[in-house]
């Protein structure tokens, strides 16, 4: 039965998607895991980091996406929403067997109010995932930058979460806010979830401000109980280029500093998952 892990941060642009896509790739490639990546963000960033837009459009036209799984109203397909199993793209990257994807869809943009009256709106994915969870070792959930219904579905289905974070003030403000809101959700939705820790991303280690911010957080009283990964992901333009080729960093440039960092992060991640 798979371990389910969410990439979580209300703060935008901190590398949730980049972490999800590259962790998923190295888990399958270097660690032989059967991996399912689930794209919970209506902006389809994770999906389009692994498949060209034309391929995504073709798939969404004929098959299901997260819009079907979450029963979004905006989706144009007729009839019953597709079953979760029919939304899975198996081996989305031919070069990386063992990595499957459930792609997202623009129709998730207003999902919160689509589902406002639906009983159990936060547990839809958890229930539907039960059918396939035995087929995987790790399921990664790429969350949008908020704690709304899509993210709540990811968290409710998750055993653990990982927090990517840029080492600057506005990005780190969110850590306290996040812990506070997560405590509220765990209580109200009555679920357990473990924090795997914080991974610093887009790090420019030569900048004193970045070095000081990481040091300040690692030693802060407030965050004593939080695990900070040893591996930090450097700012590396190759990581921003790769999605344009619909490739993870390993296939775009396996020698890039970003590739080395994600390879190392994945080792640490596997050890933390236990």
């Amino acid at each position: 039965k798979a371990k389910v892990v969410s990439l979580l941060n209300m703060k935008g642009g901190v590398g949730k998607t980049t972490c999800a896509v590259n962790l998923a790739t190295y888990l399958a490639r270097d660690h032989g895991k059967r991996v399912l990546l689930v794209d919970f963000d209506s902006q389809t960033n994770a999906s389009l980091s692994l498949m060209p837009e034309t391929a995504w459009e073709k798939w969404a036209d004929k098959h299901g996406t997260m819009a079907d799984v979450l029963e979004a109203r905006g989706k144009k397909r007729q009839g019953e929403p597709a079953a979760l199993a029919d939304c899975i793209i198996h081996n989305v990257l031919p070069e990386v067997p063992g990595l499957d994807l459930i792609p997202s869809h623009l129709a998730l943009t207003f999902i919160d109010l689509d589902l406002a009256a639906r009983p159990g709106r936060e547990r839809i994915v958890s229930r539907k995932l039960a059918k396939v969870i035995g087929n995987y070792d790790v399921i990664l959930c790429d969350c949008p930058p908020n704690l709304m219904t899509a993210t709540q579905n990811a968290l409710y289905a998750s055993d653990a979460y990982l927090i990517p974070m840029q080492p600057d003030y506005l990005s780190t403000l969110g850590l306290n806010l996040l812990q506070d809101r997560l405590t509220y959700l765990k209580r109200e939705l009555e679920f357990k979830i473990t924090c795997l820790g914080v991974v610093f991303t887009r790090v420019r280690g030569w900048l004193r401000y970045h070095a000081e911010t990481m040091e300040r957080l690692r030693t802060a009283k407030d965050f004593k109980r939080i695990h900070f990964f040893e591996t930090v992901i450097p700012e590396n333009i190759k990581l921003a280029e790769a999605p344009m080729e619909a490739k993870p960093i390993e296939l775009h440039d396996s020698t890039a500093s970003g590739a080395e960092a994600y390879r190392a992060l994945t080792k640490e991640f596997v050890a933390r998952l236990g």
Copy 2:
């Protein structure tokens, strides 16, 4: 009667808040405008870029915030929510007279479902702003990275919007998605809004990838009708440091490349606003 402008992008971390805070400052300081900055993001990034956390806590304790304006349920204050006028912090920066702020509040995190049943939930701010709109020349709305109820309130109240954007693939994917969703909102909520244009942010001009991405967008058929600002905001660590001091870049380091860029952007912005 003020011109109301929203900083808009569903993509996270592209510089909406940094633009809002620094445009607001230069409009007041260099152009003598009476400016109101309204923080629509439950993460309070804009608010905490202009006032220390302790000052914000004191204010939120005794006075109103966007949680009162948007009638959030989570807020702990008893009795009637505060009137909008009582939520305004006048001259939030002593060094920059003419810049007022309506601060945000964590209680906005679940505002969409708080307001799900409230008639006219998208027009609350527009109605309440009417009382004070004559006191300002420009009202800037800092939006969260989504198009949900808080952002819809900002857009419904706005004459125009500005799109900050990082020049990389995942950030630019959002431009088409944004235009599509905005068309839908304009039709369903029956309001008009002008696009002031796109401003490239966090630009590292020496990177070929950034230069190519900006060129590709400026010349793309899809975006022929979109105005791209001449000024681009460079990646400048000073811009990330400034919020830690609760200062706009002008007060943190007026000689920084980020300061020069925002000063220039503000000139262009004033010209575009007409």
